[in-house]
């Protein structure tokens, strides 16, 4: 094979205009996320054991599983926080996640909400959203960045989506637990990711808040692919189309909610607790 720099039908890579990172994302061949045979062990303990998972473009997927099943660890692998011992992870068919670090993965279009809500407590809601905005995040750019009309509109749009208009200038640290969860989801939206990973987004929310969150997530699916990890079964039932059950680091069952709930292995795992 001719090395790429010798091919006459191509310009040199370094001369080509830089591609925006998300231009690389190619989902024409099917899923947006491929995890294959991913294994992670911590001091000999297998947190993930040859895990396989495929998420389709635009899908809303719920992942459930008992405590310690490896759900958070799976998100750590996807977002570059933990390197697996074996396996491969692809975002679309072109982006090899295992070769990127956290900021690069975020830039490529994967947004993540942590299990414990993490917002910037000493900044106000608008500032939190501002920092999350999609765009160049180099040091010099942020030094000279200004809040322009487009950004202000984007922020207002997200504020309306997450219902925090009235608290726009409150410090994030002063928000209620549920509001923090929403703010964090709002921050993800500002990033304009293609794939959203939400780790227990309704933990600590009131009934009403949970309903609003369910509505919000359903609206997001389609335009984004959404992966939700949740323990709250009622919530999962209200949004789920397809559910994956993780147990001891690998997929136990996958299917729609009714099938999954009727599966004897799932019942055993949950009753066994």
């Amino acid at each position: 094979m001719t090395p790429s720099f010798m091919r006459r039908d191509r310009v040199f890579d370094f001369l080509a205009p830089p591609l925006p990172p998300d231009a690389l994302l190619d989902t024409s061949h099917g899923p947006i996320l491929y995890l294959e045979d991913i294994s992670v062990s911590f001091d000999g303990f297998k947190a993930l054991d040859a895990l396989n998972l495929y998420i389709d473009d635009g899908e809303l997927r719920c992942i459930i599983g008992p405590n310690g099943a490896g759900k958070t660890t799976m998100m750590d692998v996807i977002t570059g926080r933990t390197r697996p011992d074996a396996g491969s992870a692809w975002f679309g068919s072109r982006i090899d996640l295992l070769r990127l670090d956290e900021p690069a993965i975020a830039k490529a279009g994967i947004g993540r909400k942590f299990q414990k809500p993490t917002v910037f407590e000493n900044l106000n809601v608008v500032e939190n959203l501002e920092l999350a905005t999609h765009g160049d995040k180099a040091v010099w750019r942020t030094l000279v960045a200004r809040m322009d009309a487009a950004l202000r509109d984007a922020i207002e749009g997200v504020l309306a989506t997450i219902g925090l208009e009235a608290d726009a200038y409150r410090e994030a640290g002063a928000l209620s637990h549920g509001q923090k969860q929403w703010l964090e989801i709002g921050m993800l939206l500002m990033q304009r990711p293609r794939l959203l990973l939400l780790d227990e987004p309704v933990a600590g929310m009131t009934h009403e808040e949970i309903e609003r969150t369910a509505e919000l997530l359903q609206r997001l699916a389609g335009e984004h692919s959404v992966v939700v990890v949740e323990h709250d079964m009622e919530f999962v039932r209200s949004i789920a189309r397809k559910v994956t059950v993780l147990h001891e680091g690998c997929v136990l069952v996958e299917g729609d909610m009714a099938t999954v709930q009727a599966d004897p292995r799932v019942i055993e795992v949950y009753l066994g607790e």
């Binding site: 993490t118 407590e121 920092l131 999350a132 990033q191």
Partner: protein, 359 residues
């Protein structure tokens, strides 16, 4: 300018600085020495010193208060800036040294050196020295920060290696063969840009330069803190991983702030040295860097004017205290630190803020 108007504490600080800058020189140069309103040259220099410390405190507050990186070695950057200025001042002495050598500083003649070491070249030119004042601390901070932040060294570990850095530099500068005057350091300066360092007018000019540096440093830090970069830095302090998953290369932000801060510290050191008339390896002592942390803690980390005010107040207390009970000072300093940490986590600035009810 909007950010400046909203910054009440900063405006007060700049206003006080403006008044001091007008009153002190007049009181020294115009009011006759026998008047009760006369300010002695000694006091002018002392104030100039405090202002340099205030700049150093701003530098530390930026990395510690805003970025959450507790450097216990910031005195090293201050001292390096001081040494760069000291080298210029040494070369200005020329033939007026004890040994009357046209080029070599006295200590080199004393050591029987025949030629100027290469790293002393260029220091006879003021612009070169000023460049080095910024470049040497900046470069050291850049290399050090690059290694430390990239390997994700944080928290206590980072504090300890910064402390080790300043300690290692102290040991190195103590050695005669380093060519920086060994444990005597650099001293016996005569003049700066042709002005006699002992003259009242020069002292006043140095004091004014320190005030100007403080004002400019304050505005620069304010601009950084008020920019989006400033918010990213606070974000890194509060939730480093969140910032990373938003796509910020946290290491680069820390590195930038650390380097910027080191340059500021170097500039402060450079103005400090001609005022005190000496720079020696003692400036690298870990204790100095720790005292610096206390100034910022007492003044209020995370508020720029608080850090500057803390530096001036604690040093004023130190001057007064050591005049009366020198052996008690360190205990008093320790107590001050413990009390401010326990009772005033946001320092004096936090206290005033709570009183004022505004933020």
């Amino acid at each position: 300018m909007r950010w400046l108007m909203a910054d009440k504490g900063g405006l007060v600080m700049l206003a006080v600085l403006a008044v001091v800058v007008i009153v002190v020189p007049l009181a020294n140069l115009v009011i006759p020495p026998d008047s009760a309103l006369h300010v002695s040259t000694y006091t002018v220099t002392l104030l100039g010193k405090y202002l340099c410390y205030a700049v150093l405190a701003l530098a530390l507050d930026l990395v510690w208060g805003y970025c959450g990186v507790l450097s216990l070695g910031h005195g090293a950057f201050f001292a390096l800036g001081g040494y760069a200025m000291g080298m210029y001042l040494m070369r200005q002495i020329g033939e007026r040294g004890v040994y009357g050598h046209p080029v070599l500083p006295d200590f080199m003649v004393f050591l029987d050196w025949q030629a100027l070491p290469w790293y002393w070249y260029g220091f006879d030119m003021f612009w070169f020295a000023v460049l080095m004042v910024a470049l040497v601390p900046g470069l050291l901070a850049f290399v050090f920060g690059w290694l430390a932040f990239r390997s994700r060294v944080t928290g206590v570990y980072l504090s300890i290696i910064t402390q080790a850095l300043t300690y290692a530099l102290m040991l190195a500068f103590f050695r005669n063969e380093m060519g920086f005057g060994g444990n005597n350091g650099l001293t016996d300066f005569k003049d700066l840009l042709g002005f006699d360092l002992q003259a009242d007018a020069t002292r006043v000019a140095l004091f004014l330069s320190s005030a100007l540096l403080l004002a400019l440093a304050y505005l620069a830090c304010r601009a950084v803190v008020g920019s989006r970069l400033g918010r990213v830095v606070v974000a890194v302090r509060d939730a480093e991983n969140r910032a990373r998953f938003l796509g910020y290369r946290v290491e680069y932000f820390k590195l930038w702030v650390f380097t910027f801060s080191a340059v500021l510290a170097g500039l402060a050191g450079a103005l400090y040295v001609p005022q005190v008339g000496i720079i020696n390896p003692g400036e690298f002592q870990p204790l100095n860097s720790i005292e610096l942390v206390i100034w910022v803690a007492v003044g209020g980390r995370g508020t720029l004017w608080g850090a500057a005010a803390g530096a001036v107040l604690v040093n004023y207390a130190k001057t007064s205290f050591t005049a009366v009970l020198p052996e008690v000072w360190l205990f008093a300093l320790g107590a001050l630190f413990v009390l401010s940490t326990l009772l005033l986590p946001r320092g004096l600035a936090g206290l005033l803020r709570r009183r004022g009810g505004a933020s």
